[in-house]
Symmetry: C2
Subunit: 129 residues, 2 copies
DNA sequence: GCGGTTACGCAAACCGCTTGCAAATTCCAG
DNA sequence: CTGGAATTTGCAAGCGGTTTGCGTAACCGC
């Protein structure tokens, strides 16, 4: 039939290693290069795109204008560290009751949400004291 | 001394009219054109930038990659309507206690947050029934 | 090996935002 | 009224990050 998509596989493995939680395309390319393969940027892009399409990964856009990719999993939210620029996962703080209340109050219909906290991640926060 | 910045003034007035809550640069340009002035895109951009700089307005980045500007005011969050693409303000649902609990639990230091709900705004939601 | 199918690399296009520069406008002092 | 300084505005080019078109090369089953 066809070729085996080496990059996607390597990419999943890389992302699973959790040096980062969320990876920019640049991060991914750098990580893959370090791992031996030095794929073209568009290849990385396409692989990431595919992972998103088949539900393996999720794409996030931050206020800095750069996309980040994370492996899909249970819902959580994020903290964007203003110091080290890492995007750290944090548990979701919005209870179902809260969004229902909000729906009742405002008349909107909520299907999902996405919270981004800004502040210091655990290590940067510790380093400051 | 200097010229009077006609555009910024017109822009504030336009935004206060609340046809939208949050305006893309394109929206702003279109709105201003409709109002008589047909400013250049960079002029709109610069005016918006200035309003943000002096605290009159706030800039938001959505997952669609386009910036939106809203008049600054009390803190609130947003719902991005998947049908009409409007960005609607909703009251904030995160209590101080919740973020403190999150800080305690994860060791991060939170300075602010930004929630974007996805779903249907009030009018689109009503129209669906 | 052979043909079909698919991933890859390269370079160019794209999108929305930004910026440099010169022309236009306004304000104030004389 | 007029000259000049201060600023905004328009134009066009530039930019960062992402996306695409296309030709080549790798893999698969036969």
């Amino acid at each position: 039939m066809a070729r085996k998509p080496l990059i996607s596989a390597a990419m999943i493995e890389l992302m699973a290693r959790r040096e980062h939680h969320a990876w920019t395309l640049e991060d991914l390319q750098a990580g893959l290069s370090a791992a031996g393969t030095s794929p073209n940027f568009s290849t990385v892009f396409r692989a990431a795109e595919k992972l998103v399409a088949d539900g393996t990964a999720r794409k996030l856009l931050l206020d800095d204008g750069r996309a980040r990719f994370e492996l899909a999993g249970t819902h959580h939210d994020h903290l964007h560290c203003v110091e080290c620029d890492e995007l750290v996962p944090v548990p979701c703080v919005i209870a179902g009751a809260q969004s229902s209340a909000l729906e009742a109050e405002t008349g909107v219909a909520i299907s999902e949400h996405h919270i981004v906290f800004s502040g210091l991640c655990q290590s940067c926060s510790g380093r400051r004291e």
